[in-house]
Symmetry: C2
Subunit: 310 residues, 2 copies
């Protein structure tokens, strides 16, 4: 048995998993941000409750894994820098003792999602996968030979911070022109804002104005579905940028599958189909096999299961 924890800025979710990654049960509580001792106590209590409910002796738990939003030191299971959690340098290695005596592992939430999808979701039975999460930013994770690949220093897989437009749009990471600046939900909104500059004749304008002047990624998809030419053009541009990044991942890593997750991936086949065309047209191809592009299957459970399986 394993415990997986998705430590978020809003909620903390704790799950109990079998050794093969199948989810038995989960529970959630609001995260007590800025209160590390209370937050750790909550986590332990949730883990104990799950065990009790499922008739599992805490001694049977072989590993506790935590997915965190921020910087961490894997070797000591320490959250070194957790802006959204309002706490730095919190060590979790002993937080579950004395009831649980197993090792505590830690990785970032995007990596956990990549591992979870590979073990139990859209990348099942694959050796090599790349997960690309299209949310506020572009998160990601790389699984090689069925294991999370984290490089020489545990921070590999920052695939959103591959530059696709040298000198382009400023990115939060300090570089310019990162994939994240164009292919995140935020990037899609920026593309739409640029396209609407000085226009009033588009359905997308009307939607924005009805929402108090605020554009969302979903509006672009909805307006495109209703035939709005501006939204269609913005969407095409978005696919060009995202496709550009995906083709580079194929050329570099040739994973069995690239798994698209996050809010924008909810647009489903309408997003995947044009991206597959770009990949087929532009990427290096093998003799026997090529990278497939698929949609994530597990939603928020991916990070939870992945944490359990670290």
């Amino acid at each position: 048995m394993r415990i997986g924890i998705d430590l978020g800025g809003t909620n903390t979710v704790v799950c109990l998993c079998k050794e093969d990654g199948s989810l038995l049960d989960k529970t959630r509580l609001p995260t007590r941000t800025g209160q590390p001792a209370q937050m750790q106590a909550d986590m332990k209590q949730m883990a104990l409750s799950l065990c009790q409910k499922q008739g599992v002796n805490p001694n049977e738990v072989t590993q506790i894994g935590i997915g965190v939003p921020g910087s961490f030191d894997k070797q000591t299971a320490t959250l070194t820098f957790g802006t959204n959690l309002g706490m730095n340098n919190v060590c979790f290695a002993h937080a579950f003792q004395p009831e649980f005596r197993c090792p505590v592992r830690m990785d970032n939430d995007a990596n956990c999602a990549a591992l979870g999808e590979t073990i139990a979701g859209a990348g099942r039975s694959c050796r090599h996968t790349v997960m690309v999460t299209l949310g506020t930013g572009v998160g990601g994770g790389i699984v090689i030979d069925g294991k999370l690949y984290t490089g020489c220093n545990d921070v590999a897989g920052e695939i959103g911070h591959m530059v696709i437009v040298a000198g382009g749009r400023p990115c939060n990471c300090g570089r310019r022109g990162c994939l994240e600046s164009y292919a995140s939900a935020t990037g899609l909104i920026h593309l739409a804002e640029d396209a609407l500059e000085g226009r009033t004749d588009s359905l997308l304008c009307t939607m924005r104005d009805q929402n108090g002047g605020k554009l969302t990624a979903k509006m672009v998809c909805d307006a495109r579905d209703q035939g709005d030419p501006v939204a269609s053009q913005v969407f095409e541009q978005y696919c060009m940028y995202l496709g550009c990044g995906l083709v580079s991942f194929v050329n570099i890593l040739q994973p069995d599958r690239i798994i698209l997750g996050g809010g924008v991936a909810g647009y489903g086949e309408k997003l995947l189909a044009p991206l597959r065309e770009i990949i087929a047209r532009e990427s290096f191809k093998g003799v026997h096999k090529n990278t497939e592009l698929v949609q994530a299957l597990l939603g928020n459970d991916a990070g939870l299961i992945g944490a359990a399986m670290l």
Copy 2:
């Protein structure tokens, strides 16, 4: 004992290696392009001569590896498409029988160089390395956990074909704005040609004119060494593009080392120092360790040793 072969469009080099990758002896012959049977006979003869010279019984050879310039099918050790060799669909699996009975492996020359440098050169004792070869194109190879990483279909590691300028300069691969289009020796020449457009007042112009109007990458380095401001500006631009690609490799893969090889890397520390600054400034960093940038050590032997160690 192992045999490594670097099958080039001009010469074929065959070596004898120990199991740890140390080179014992090597020999070379011009490649008989367009004549697959003769070429295979030459290879076998060179391998047999090396064994005889070193007192090695061909039965002691545990593996023969061939680095090829072109497309191949690893599973059948077949060169599927070898433009520079004037031959397609040539199978090497049985080319060394009956004298040698060991398996014959194959990979592309850039991958072999990456493996060779990692086992016996600038990446020695590293777990994860990325080799970037700056020649006519930008070749590359990825070593993960000490083994060549070739993805789901044996064509991973095409790191020269990561786009850094979406919609930019056309690349031979069919995409636009690939790293290769900017960071290869050819890319450096293009940057210099653009900078010299309409100018006659630069040392670089004089050098070009004295060479029958033909610029080379070395001229840019030489003119910069002599204080030519145009060459300095071109070189700075080149470092910006190459650095952009290297930082992305760090963010994605966080290898222990990035190894720069190929002609342009011969400029040594004068190239590496500014690139290290860009990497330090722009890349994601770990708590304990970060990616080092180093120059390749083995020259052409890298591909030969890597082939032996496939």
